[in-house]
Amino acid sequence: MMPTTPTIRDPALAAKLYRSMVLIREFEQALDQLFASGAIRGTAHFCVGQEATAVGVSAALQAGDYVISYHRGHGHFIAQGGDPARIMAELFGKATGYSGGRGGSQHVSSFEHGFLGSNGITGGGIPVGTGAALALKLQRRNGVVAVFFGDGAANQGAFHESLNLGSLWKLPVVYLCENNLYSMFTHLRESTSVGHIADRAAAYGMPGQIVDGNDLVEVFNAARQAVQRARDGQGPSLIECKTYRMLGHSKSDKRAYRTREEEASWQAHDPITLFRKRMLDERILTPESLTAIEGEVDRQVEQAVRFARESPFPPARGLEESVYA
């Protein structure tokens, strides 16, 4: 489903969005290697292949809006302008990380970037994001909350309770399901009663829409409309972004539950390659400008890793003070 007219014609915007996607990709790839080499302990979930959803949605938001994420959240944070060096430091468990080493990969946030946080409880962010939208409405702040979650999370009670409440109270929220076909090792058809998560919108009296989650322009357009609708007081929408995670569920997943052919078919539909080609075909960006961006991002990710490595560990003493406000 190619929309006939691209909405991204501004070269500065196109360059910014391309840069953001490449930054997420390279950040995640660097991280994958750092885990493999044992430089980082714990675990992380990579969003390689899903960059367009994060970047397309953030591009549709404005200052004063918020994103809330889930366990696969590095991309959402970077798309909101989070500093990759400080996210990387968090993964290293360092004092300079956004959570001071307390949260790790799955538990980081920066409210000043409009990023209400990732979270390790599948579906757990959906009610919280709905409540954030309630605050924006009560405080007449004109803001919107974008709530990200996976296809697996759409089977939690929290999803259903939240969509009902959000719709009933016409809250300024957009529910964004990143359907990457799997929840951990289990395929969607084995876990979910409907083929499309978007079909569930009907049950809650809100519009449901399916988009190609690997097409940045399509995600951006759909998100802009839904955000506008929410901002206008007409209530939530559910957007299902069909996408695919190219790496395993988390570090050290050998992907035995899916075929290399399936992976290859999605590889051929890579969000970054698609957008790159489109911007070149439509002569919005030049090959030189794209290459320059890629070089810059390389250096930025290298610096992020260096910053994280060189940062100190947090002191344990006084950790008690961090528990209560």
Binding site: S105, I121, G123, N155, G157, S183, T186, S191, E320
Partner: protein, 326 residues
């Protein structure tokens, strides 16, 4: 006796009970793929998808459907992938499953087992590292098993599956990779019977789950200083083998309780209270608790080490209670 990994001992118990009793079936997230720690790998090939059922990510209905199936004669063994996620299912477990037999009488039995891995030390952070044993103890109606060795993992799980009440079976993530001798075949470990993991006369250390290993390490170190501790592993927290704990305390006159869960309202608090009620006059020193500090469990290694107790904390606690008495 073959040496087995703790995780394989769990799998053997499941396999044997499924072979023995057609009413037993498994369900949980990604369970046919072995779930997060590979424990149930291979069982779907043996027993098929009817009895090894992958579920959606839906903890409330995993436990709730387990209760419903148990009411009508099945013997489900469900899995909650990390113990932290049991919080999503506590209404079904504690408001329903734990109370049915009491409310509805003998027609209602809930032979459900909820298996769940707990524990920290892997850098998984605040939502994937908790030991929530004490939450289950605060309300009556659910039995709680905390195997610390491969043999007990097998023997207690087989007993749990044959029990007519809801049992939460807490497996420890760091123990999955430990090996130990495991009896073959009909190896059943009764509930409510503690194991003396090491005999000693100077102080009693009641330790649960992963802390048993730490207590044994502490015992070795303390022996170098001429201090012999007795390590008591209760194996089940409900029922709790108070006679064994009291007997040991009467012998040693000193008590330390070690758990990986949080200190306030923890397992140690309960055991300390009971011992002070029932054996106060036998004690020659204050009871000491070793537990996680009352802080969410952080990711970063030095922070996690600060929050989660280890052998050094047990050694310190033993010395404190012994020194206080002289």
């Amino acid at each position: 006796m073959p040496e087995l990994f703790y995780s394989h001992a769990v799998r053997d118990a499941l396999r044997e009970e499924m072979a023995r009793d057609p009413r037993v079936f498994l369900m949980g997230e990604d369970i046919s793929y072995g779930s997060a720690f590979g424990v149930t790998k291979g069982l779907v090939e043996e027993f098929g998808t009817e009895r090894v059922r992958n579920t959606p990510v839906s903890e409330e209905v995993i436990v709730g459907a387990g209760i419903g199936a148990a009411l009508l004669g099945c013997r489900p063994v469900v899995e909650i992938m990390f113990m932290d996620f049991i919080l999503l299912a506590l209404d079904q477990l504690l408001n329903h499953g734990a109370k049915y037999h009491f409310m509805y009488g003998d027609q209602a039995r809930v032979p459900l087992v909820v298996r769940t891995p707990a524990g920290a030390r892997r850098g998984y952070g605040p939502t994937h590292s908790q030991s929530l044993d004490s939450i289950l103890l605060t309300l009556p109606g659910v039995k709680v098993a905390v195997p610390a060795t491969p043999a007990d993992a097998k023997g207690l799980l087989k007993t749990a599956i044959r029990d007519d009440n809801p049992v939460v079976f807490i497996e420890n993530k760091t123990l999955y990779g430990r090996r130990g001798d495991v009896p073959e075949g009909e190896h059943l470990v009764p509930f409510g019977r503690a194991r003396i993991a090491r005999e000693g006369s100077n102080a009693t250390v009641v330790a649960t789950g992963q802390m048993v290993e730490d207590a044994l390490a502490a015992a070795q170190a303390l022996a170098g200083d001429g201090i012999e501790i007795e390590v008591v592993d209760p194996r089940t927290l409900r029922p709790l083998d108070m006679p064994a704990i009291l007997e040991s305390v009467q012998k040693t006159a000193h008590l330390v309780i070690a758990e990986e869960g949080h200190r306030t309202g923890g397992v140690g608090a309960e055991i300390a209270a009971r011992v002070s009620e029932e054996a106060f006059y036998y004690l020659d020193g204050p009871i000491r608790r070793v537990a996680a500090r009352d802080i969410p469990i952080p990711c970063s290694e030095p922070l996690e080490r600060y929050v989660i107790p280890g052998a050094a904390d047990i050694i310190k606690a033993v010395k404190e209670t012994l020194n206080a008495s002289t």
